[in-house]
């Protein structure tokens, strides 16, 4: 066996890759194709589905019927991504450049909340943002805010929930790219009479761009597909996102064709974004920043 492997050494990497890649082929690639096929189905779960290219109207119908939710998803995801960036950048900057001996502790604190269940964090926010919750309760009893002010069941609640839950996906890549910056570059900038602001703008920020790109992608993509925050913090039809539609079409209405078409639209939009990004940075860079 060993002798054979030595003779045909070139197959060793393929032997190592095959089991895992077969799994991904059957349970990732094939289902993606199946979903594309399902998006051209018509019929129902009870009477069976039939495939026909004429059912391309599943796409146009889905787009026009759920235009509102699609637009809202883009808006919520973009707002949440900007919010995570505004929170993450100073945080990552402090950890990378100013934290000294507390660097590891701060990194730990950034990740620590994510050691518990995603759903429980959302439920905690529901307690905090509730009509008489930890935030509004005291403000209302002090008379600073009128009694009918709500945060829960508004877009603000959904956006802040999404921003909170995907924060480390933004903070960590930015931290990694800031950490890699050679401090001598900044010293050289100072020696050449750069003000702190222009050194930041011309050295730090450009070198942090790969991290910002990665963080933006890693936040925006899951935010686009999220429906748990909209369900638990939004609660009303006016805060439903495309994920809520896909979820209820699939699991409540058994309307697989429309749901598959909508999922495919979501995925295609994201694949285009990833392809553009991969072209800009190369897949290796993408892999390392994702890790």
């Amino acid at each position: 066996m060993t002798a054979l492997l030595r003779r045909y050494h070139f197959i060793v990497p393929y032997l190592l890759l095959t089991p895992g890649l077969i799994w991904l082929a059957i349970f990732y690639i094939y289902p993606s194709i199946q979903m594309f096929i399902s998006s051209f189905w018509s019929g129902s779960l009870e009477h069976g589905f039939t495939f026909s290219l004429a059912n391309v109207h599943n796409y146009t119908d889905g787009l026009s019927r759920y235009q509102e939710q699609i637009v809202r998803s883009v808006f919520f995801a973009a707002a949440a991504t900007i919010a995570t960036f505004l929170i993450s950048f100073p945080l990552a900057y402090t950890i990378a450049f100013r934290a000294g001996q507390y660097k590891n502790l701060l990194l730990f604190l950034v990740i620590a909340p994510f050691f518990t269940s995603f759903l429980l964090r959302v439920i905690s926010w529901r307690t905090i943002l509730g009509d008489d919750g930890l935030l509004l309760g005291p403000l209302k009893s002090a008379g600073l805010v009128s009694d009918d002010v709500r945060i829960l069941a508004t877009p603000v609640a959904v956006i802040s929930g999404i921003a909170y839950n995907f924060l480390p996906f933004m903070t960590l890549p930015i931290y990694v790219s800031l950490e890699k910056i050679d401090k001598r570059l900044l010293e050289a900038g100072q020696d050449l009479y750069a003000t702190p602001w222009s050194a930041f703008r011309k050295i730090t920020l450009p070198l942090a761009l790969p991290g910002i790109f990665a963080g933006t992608l890693l936040t925006f993509i899951p935010a686009m597909g999220d429906y748990v925050n909209a369900e638990l913090l939004g609660q009303t039809p006016a805060t439903k996102m495309i994920g809520n539609v896909v979820q209820s079409r699939f699991l409540v209405n058994n309307d697989y064709p429309t749901a598959a078409a909508l999922s495919f639209i979501l995925m295609a939009g994201i694949l285009v974004a990833v392809a553009v990004y991969a072209r800009l940075l190369g897949t290796e860079e993408l892999m390392s920043s994702a890790g």
């Binding site: 060993t2 060793v12 990497p13 393929y14 190592l16 890759l17 089991p19 895992g20 799994w23 991904l24 082929a25 349970f27 990732y28 094939y30 289902p31 199946q34 979903m35 096929i37 399902s38 100073p90 900057y93 402090t94 100013r98 701060l106 730990f108 950034v110 620590a112 909340p113 050691f115 518990t116 269940s117 995603f118 759903l119 429980l120 905690s124 529901r126 905090i128 919750g133 909170y164 993509i221 899951p222 597909g225 999220d226 429906y227 748990v228 994920g243 979820q247 699939f250 697989y256 598959a260 999922s263 979501l266 995925m267 994201i270 897949t283 290796e284 993408l286 892999m287 390392s288 994702a290």
Partner: protein
């Protein structure tokens, strides 16, 4: 940049308001960071606090009084212990399978140059770039189209699938700094390839494998979205919690969340301490 804080001008000049403003100016980043950490920790603090609540009705939203009730009977709500057991089973099995498959891919990608590397990288990356809802939905259409009943097995299949990529990425990161000369030295001293692997390579990459397994375990035990699409009537812990949001989340859920949080924090602290001891020795 660090000299800013040491400048004597920052001390005791001007009115208190000016002094406060100056202090904030010098420490704005630290104040901001402190606020961000408080923001990050707030929901966790609320979760832990409310595990000691004794709510009036079914919903645990308003604080009423301190109690150890839920901690003394953590599995009192019907179905909760079954859900926890199902989650643990799925997390254990999917972690083991995904760690083996992912480690093999990680070894293949970091140690060999071969045709199809770029394609392999892409196939590994794509599942992480796909929103969970699309992963879950496409698996659902697969299971429906082949007429496969959804149960614990289909959840396992799904969890192994999404965990493979995360394992590969973690292993690759750890293998990046691997010194191949250690293996060459072993072979020069007469060790066979097998002996070299088990006595040199494996012990060196084991921490990476362990880290990948811990990540896979935590992703599996916390997954709701993909599980929701592939579960059928099986109830995992996140499925139980989500279902409970409609009728009132029992206090015990906060207890279990606190235990999971404590265990994860404990595991990280322990591994940090062990690493420090190794480095000191």
């Amino acid at each position: 940049m660090t000299t800013v804080a040491l400048q004597p001008a920052a001390r005791s000049h001007g009115t208190p308001a000016q002094r406060i403003r100056r202090w904030l100016g010098h420490n704005a980043l630290f104040v901001y960071t402190f606020a961000a950490i408080v923001y990050l920790m707030l929901p966790i603090a609320v979760m832990i606090l409310f595990s000691f609540n004794r709510p009036a009705g079914k919903s645990n939203f308003a604080w009423r009084e301190f109690s150890f009730d839920a901690w003394l009977n953590p599995f009192a709500p019907l179905g909760l212990s079954d859900a926890v057991m199902a989650s643990l089973r799925i997390a254990f099995i999917s972690t083991i399978v995904a760690t083996i498959l992912g480690t093999l891919i990680g070894l293949g990608l970091t140690r060999y140059v071969f045709r199809g590397r770029a394609a392999t990288n892409l196939i590994i990356f794509l599942p992480m770039a796909t929103p969970e809802i699309v992963l879950g939905a496409s698996l659902l259409t697969l299971f429906v189209s082949i007429g496969m009943a959804r149960n614990e097995l289909t959840i396992l299949i799904a969890h192994i699938m999404f965990n493979i990529s995360y394992v590969v990425v973690t292993i690759r990161a750890r293998l990046a700094g691997f010194d191949r000369r250690l293996e060459e030295a072993a072979m020069d001293l007469g060790a066979t390839e097998m002996v070299t692997f088990w006595k040199v390579t494996f012990p060196l990459i084991f921490p990476g494998i362990l880290a990948a397994a811990m990540l896979a375990f935590s992703l599996s035990i916390d997954d709701f979205v993909i599980t929701n699409f592939t579960a059928g009537s099986t109830v995992t812990l996140p499925m139980y919690i989500y279902g409970a949001t409609r009728i009132g989340v029992p206090v015990q859920v906060n207890v279990i969340g606190t235990i999971i949080f404590g265990t994860a924090v404990g595991a990280v602290l322990l591994s940090t301490l062990l690493q420090r001891r190794d480095r000191a020795a």
